[in-house]
């Protein structure tokens, strides 16, 4: 005879516990779940993403209706339990249901804490807790403008970011002097505040809310210092309050939460509590990982497994706000017993603090680059002895062996993916039973890494550990083209290491499936070869796309365009006369100012192209190339009354210094003479804005398919410094860019901060400039050199018989 297991609450912790029970013993219980929300179990922590528009409500379901059916679970939704009767072992609901139980789990979770101030009941004052709250915020953002979020903690900041994403003006009110004071120390909190302010979030720090005012709907809030602020929406994110009323009325021991022992058992036999409503060793938890651990512990106990029970959790936190990469785990503040290893690079915006006590990591605070979070947190939880590590080794990524060892040490029930509560055991089991080979497969199968993705490294580690040599990380990556599984970086590394001298050798040695390559890798390899061996490698015209081979853009009817160089957009009367004469002589169907401010002759017949060049006597504008196209500039101080510097002169100089050298994709640059920015440089690959005291540099912009605004870099004092930075930047792009990748995605991929660090490192900067100059010396102006070379010139001839 099955025992009757009833659960009050249909949230993440409780349902997780049910899943664990079903996994262990499907036959033990008749299960009934009563939830007050009208949905099946969903991933509450993903509500931030829903609000921020990154995902939709339908995508955050954890268990759909079918799951309950398939597992024979009786589910009541939208029904509120009003009473527990421990004597009769039954519960009653607001709809009159009476359900009897043998074992009862209380998983009622918690509610948003609403400040007990006047006006908190007004329309437009809500918490951030449920799908309903989220929908309310989304609707409000459509109709109203201004929101105040009370609470500068994790949830408050995620809510604020989401409301901003929905188009609202947002002010965050915080009682304390620093944000997320539970998880961050002062320096990290300061950096976070600065980054959020840069995103447009406003803060009212050290303000205590005393009143919310308004008639029917909220109109504003007042603070204890007498100031006030107007708003149309108030989101309370000042904390959560465990839902314990039911338990309290039933006579269970409660404190802040429902008091439980290590087996999640309450003071009353046959009644258990898990999740945010439970208090274990004086602690109530509000993060998902410990709640899952509790659920697992209870499941083990109820199914009669031998278990040591739940031992409490050390917490770690991440913030789901783009542009604020942070990690916090364990202790956050130094005290007498701890020593801190701190790295604080204010320029790069990176802060790392590791607290150590008795040769063990006891706390981690990372800001700006949280990629080491999982590793350090694992060391913390494992209590790894770090006496043999140097400080730098603790902070830096450990070698492969250390990672492998760490993964080997992880116990099966340890949570790997906090967002979706996936344990190491689940992942290993899935890998073995379902023959999974890649991170993507594991993600699809177990949901590990499917939400924030920060556990990817650990998942790959587990794959590698489980499959040994059978794990091929390259299976994940897409190769540079269909001919090879190797990525761009791997191919370039092999070219350098093995000293490969020709594309043919590359394809042979690296075992490309197509020994002559394809239209994707032929031009790419030709580019990489010349980038790596600028002085030794001879450009292979046959590997160039027709535009670059013929030094003109092929048009849709097989004719070509001729666009001569006009440095900085300048030309002369004589040049214009010649352009006119040539256009007439060769019946050029279209003469147009191009997008890059030069004159273009379009529709030139192939056999006429060299003659047109010859008659023009001008340099190629490289309008067909993957190299610097042009430098757009305004007239600057030469003629403009607002001009602060000679932007035109600088533009011309920049164009001359950078032109002709092949880059992974085309590049456009711009120089504006003042912040009015007439040359529109903030969407260029490299942009300069002249100001009174120097030159502001920007990079990574794009006005093309996907518009991207430049990242701001630094202000330099002299033109020479502009040129040096431009060269170093271009060379770094040449050396690390994927062929056909514009600087905008390159910057996203490589990381803006990383690029800045490289360019600001004097030694690396000088080396880059030197390599750029070396490469530049090998380039000859395209048109004149073709005219001098019979073979090249013959390419334009059509044999007529």
């Amino acid at each position: 005879m099955k025992r009757k297991l009833v659960m009050i609450g249909n949230g993440m912790a409780g349902v997780r516990c049910m899943e664990e029970i079903l996994k262990r013993n499907r036959e033990a219980f008749d299960i009934t779940i009563v939830g007050d929300e009208p949905y099946p179990n969903y991933n509450r922590i993903m509500l931030s993403h829903v609000l921020q528009g990154k995902t939709e409500i339908k995508d955050i379901n954890i268990n759909d209706w079918k799951w309950y059916e398939d597992n024979d679970i009786t589910l009541f939704t939208g029904e509120i339990v009003t009473e527990i009767d421990p004597e009769e072992k039954e519960i009653k609901t607001d709809k009159g249901s009476v359900i009897s139980y043998d074992e009862l789990i209380i998983a009622t979770g918690s509610s948003a804490f609403i400040l007990p101030v006047n006006g908190s009941e007004l329309e437009g004052v809500i918490g951030f807790r449920t799908i309903q709250d989220t929908e309310c915020m989304i609707e409000t953002a459509d109709r109203y403008k201004k929101a105040v979020v009370i609470g500068g903690g994790l949830l408050g900041l995620e809510a604020a970011r989401g409301l901003m994403d929905r188009g609202m003006e947002v002010e965050v009110v915080h009682l304390m002097p620093s944000l997320m004071e539970q998880q961050l120390d002062a320096p990290a909190a300061k950096m976070l505040k600065k980054d959020l302010e840069a995103q447009g979030m406003k803060f009212l720090m050290e303000k205590q809310t005393t009143e919310i005012y308004g008639n029917e709907r909220v109109e504003g809030i007042k603070f204890s210092d007498g100031t006030s602020v107007e708003c149309d929406l108030v989101v309370m994110a000042v904390g959560i309050r465990p839902n314990i009323q039911l338990a309290k009325h039933a006579g269970l021991d409660v404190n802040r939460g429902i008091i439980v022992d290590d087996h999640m058992q309450t003071s009353t036999p046959s009644i258990y509590a898990v999740g945010e409503c439970a208090e274990h060793n004086g602690i109530t938890y509000g993060l998902v990982a410990p709640l899952y651990e509790q659920g697992t512990a209870l499941a083990a106990y109820l199914t009669g497994a031998k278990t040591t029970g739940y031992q409490g959790s050390i917490l770690s936190t991440q913030l789901k706000v783009a542009g604020c990469d942070l990690f916090s785990g364990g202790k956050i503040a130094e005290d007498d017993e701890t020593d801190a290893i701190i790295v604080h690079d204010q320029f790069a915006g990176v802060y790392k603090k590791v607290l150590v006590a008795n040769n063990k990591v006891v706390g981690v605070v990372l800001y700006g680059d949280a990629s080491d979070g999982t590793r350090l947190f694992t060391m913390l939880k494992k209590e790894t002895d770090i006496s043999e590590f140097t400080s730098a080794a603790v902070l830096q990524k450990a070698g492969e062996d250390a990672v492998d060892e760490m993964i080997a040490d992880m116990s099966a029930d340890e949570t790997v993916c906090g967002c979706n509560g996936v344990t190491k055991g689940t992942i290993v089991q899935a890998i073995l039973e379902q023959d999974l080979k890649s991170f993507e497969e594991v993600k699809t199968c177990t949901k590990a890494g499917a939400s924030c993705g920060k556990c990817r490294g650990v998942v790959e580690g587990i794959l590698s550990h489980t499959l040994g040599d059978n794990f091929d990380p390259t299976a994940e990556k897409t190769g540079m083209c269909a001919c090879t599984p190797l990525t761009r970086d791997e191919v370039v590394a092999e070219i350098k290491e093995k000293g490969l001298q020709s594309p043919k050798e590359v394809r042979n040695v690296l075992k490309f499936t197509n020994e002559e390559g394809c239209p994707a890798c032929r031009p790419a390899l030709n580019y990489y070869m010349r980038m790596v061996w600028p002085e030794e490698y001879e450009d292979d015209k046959a590997s160039r796309f027709v535009n670059e081979r013929m030094d003109g853009n092929i048009q849709n009817n097989g004719t070509f365009s001729v666009v001569p160089r006009m440095y900085g957009g300048t030309t002369t009367g004589d040049e214009l006369i010649r352009l006119g004469e040539v256009a007439n002589k060769y019946d050029v169907p279209l003469v147009k100012i191009t997008g890059a401010s030069r004159v273009g002759l379009y529709g030139v017949k192939k056999e006429d192209v060299p003659h047109v060049w010859e008659d023009l006597g001008m340099r190629s504008g490289y309008a067909y190339s993957k190299s610097l196209r042009n430098v757009k500039s305004c007239v600057g101080s030469r003629f403009c009354r607002f001009g602060t510097q000679d932007s035109l002169g600088l533009g011309i100089r920049l164009e001359k210094e950078i032109e002709m050298v092949d880059t992974p994709h085309k590049m456009k640059m711009g120089v504006s003479g003042c912040p009015r920015n007439c040359a529109e440089v903030l969407t260029k690959d490299f942009g300069v804005v002249c100001v009174e005291n120097g030159y502001q540099l920007y990079f990574g912009g794009n006005g093309g398919t996907e518009v991207r605004e430049c990242d701001s870099f630094i202000t330099v004092k002299t033109e020479d410094e502009v040129i040096t930075m431009a060269k170093a930047y271009t060379q770094y792009y040449r050396e690390t860019g994927i062929y056909n990748e514009r600087t905008a995605p390159w910057v996203e991929r490589i990381g803006s901060e990383n690029i800045k660090l490289v360019l600001l490192n004097e030694k690396r900067n000088a080396e880059l400039v030197e390599r750029f100059n070396k490469a530049k010396n090998t380039y000859e102006e395209a048109w004149s050199s073709t005219l001098l070379n019979m073979k090249k010139k013959e390419m334009f001839e059509i044999v007529k018989i």
Partner: protein, 105 residues
């Protein structure tokens, strides 16, 4: 009426670089001539059946040329457009005699 086939002397093989096509006009027909990396000389109709792209300007890989306009892949041996696209261009027999390329038109 029977079509007469004429063998036409085109150019010196030496001046036909490998893997770069050459546009040839013979008696009103526009032909793309290729010198493959294996030494073979191949001739096909010069216009891609898709958008009339000039096949002589395409990138050559093995026995295929890729149209420079929309990247259709055309066999230099059979003249057939490769899947997933469909179509064909004419092919012409070629010969190299005493260092000169001849096409049968």
């Amino acid at each position: 009426m029977m079509k007469t086939i004429e063998i036409v002397k085109i150019m010196e093989l030496e001046s036909l670089p490998k893997q770069i096509g050459k546009e040839v006009h013979v008696g009103g027909e526009s032909i793309a001539l290729f010198h493959l990396s294996n030494g073979d000389v191949r001739a096909i109709g010069s216009r891609c059946p898709h958008t009339n792209g000039p096949l002589a300007e395409g990138i050559v890989s093995g026995e295929f040329v890729f149209c420079p306009l929309q990247n259709w892949k055309v066999s230099l041996v059979t003249g057939e457009v490769q899947k997933p696209d469909d179509g064909a261009v004419p092919t012409y027999e070629t010969k190299v005699i005493d260092g000169y390329v001849y096409i049968a038109v």
